[in-house]
Subunit: 195 residues, 2 copies
DNA sequence: GTCTATACGTCGATAGAC
DNA sequence: GTCTATCGACGTATAGAC
């Protein structure tokens, strides 16, 4: 404890550590990011990092906390909608906003093997995924929609790590990604294909 | 060299090593897979693994070789098509077949940070990606199609690691994924949306 | 082809000075 | 809050017996 208030200080040093760790996790993977590498990037020693966090797992979880909290919140918000169309629209816009608003967190949470192993032990991530699937497909098991949902989420992680897309203005990224989500998940059958 | 023929023997031991390494790479990431872990999985010692390969990088590249060769080949095949529609169709079916036919290789090549770092040094992967983009979007820079392409490829990697989808028959996986690709990339504007 | 043994660096994590 | 110094475990990679 640095301050006498009893509150978590959340100083500038901690914020910089937070930002640096997240950036390296997204670029090199958690397994590929040593605490030494994080410390070097900031310009301090490894022990200085350990002043803020007791373990590497604690860093990972703290850095990903906002994203990990946002995902169930989004699901709950979608479940409150009455029609399937509205639920899917909330899911699409919600995921796109999460991905665009925080590329690094989204990528790390979704595809990093270290994080997947960590969460498999700690939280019922599987149940959360089942909720999403039921939201989008409805009670009857629509396989095509389920596959499209998988592709949409996975595709968002891929676009989140693309350098070319990252240069685009966030609002513009958002529009293009929303269109992709609607093509995949709000599909209406066309009269008939031309080919 | 074990055999006197001068040819690479390609024995059963090497094949098992190949399969085991690929499976662990896909599950735990390359950084998260030690040579000790591979050796333990097979039931031999670490040194036995080093009999077949001099370095870890060599294992990674050898294991991913079929996929790394298939990607430019697919691109060349697509470029031979006359219409944009046909080129995109070759890209869609080609990528789906690659992903369905070899889930693990596809995932590792596409998203593993270790592999991305390795390839960044050795091969002009960037040029290959530019060829794909031009194939799909055509000469004029169509941003929406480009984003859809990113989402399609990324989505394939995500569906490749999904356990539920993996239980499905390959032909069935193929059909659902093809439909997703067509929704994203062979999009025709609908008369107008209902809502 | 596979083994044991080992070299040498880096890992996550801790102790104690300042 | 940050440092140096250090720990034990594990990483890649090698040497040499069988």
């Amino acid at each position: 404890m640095a301050a006498g208030t009893g509150q978590r200080p959340r100083g500038a040093g901690r914020a910089q550590l937070h930002e640096t760790a997240l950036r390296l996790f997204a670029r090199d993977g958690v397994d590929g990011t040593s605490l030494q590498a994080i410390a070097d990037e900031i310009g301090v020693s490894k022990a200085a990092v350990y002043y803020h966090y007791k373990t590497k797992d604690e860093i990972v979880l703290d850095v990903l906390r906002p994203m990990l909290d946002a995902l169930p919140e989004l699901t709950t918000r979608a479940e409150a909608q009455r029609t399937r169309h509205a639920r899917v629209e909330v899911i699409i816009t919600g995921f796109v906003d999460l991905a665009v608003g925080n590329h690094s967190s989204f990528v790390v949470v979704m595809i990093d093997p270290y994080v997947l192993r960590l969460l498999a032990k700690q939280q019922p991530l599987q149940q959360w995924w089942d909720r999403i699937v039921e939201l989008v497909t409805g009670p009857e098991p629509d396989t095509q929609t389920r596959v499209a949902m998988l592709m949409f989420i996975g595709g968002l992680t891929s676009t989140s790590r693309d350098a070319w897309l990252a240069e685009m203005a966030p609002d513009e990224q958002r529009d293009y990604l929303l269109e992709c989500g609607r093509r995949l998940l709000q599909h209406r059958r066309r009269p008939h294909a031309k080919d």
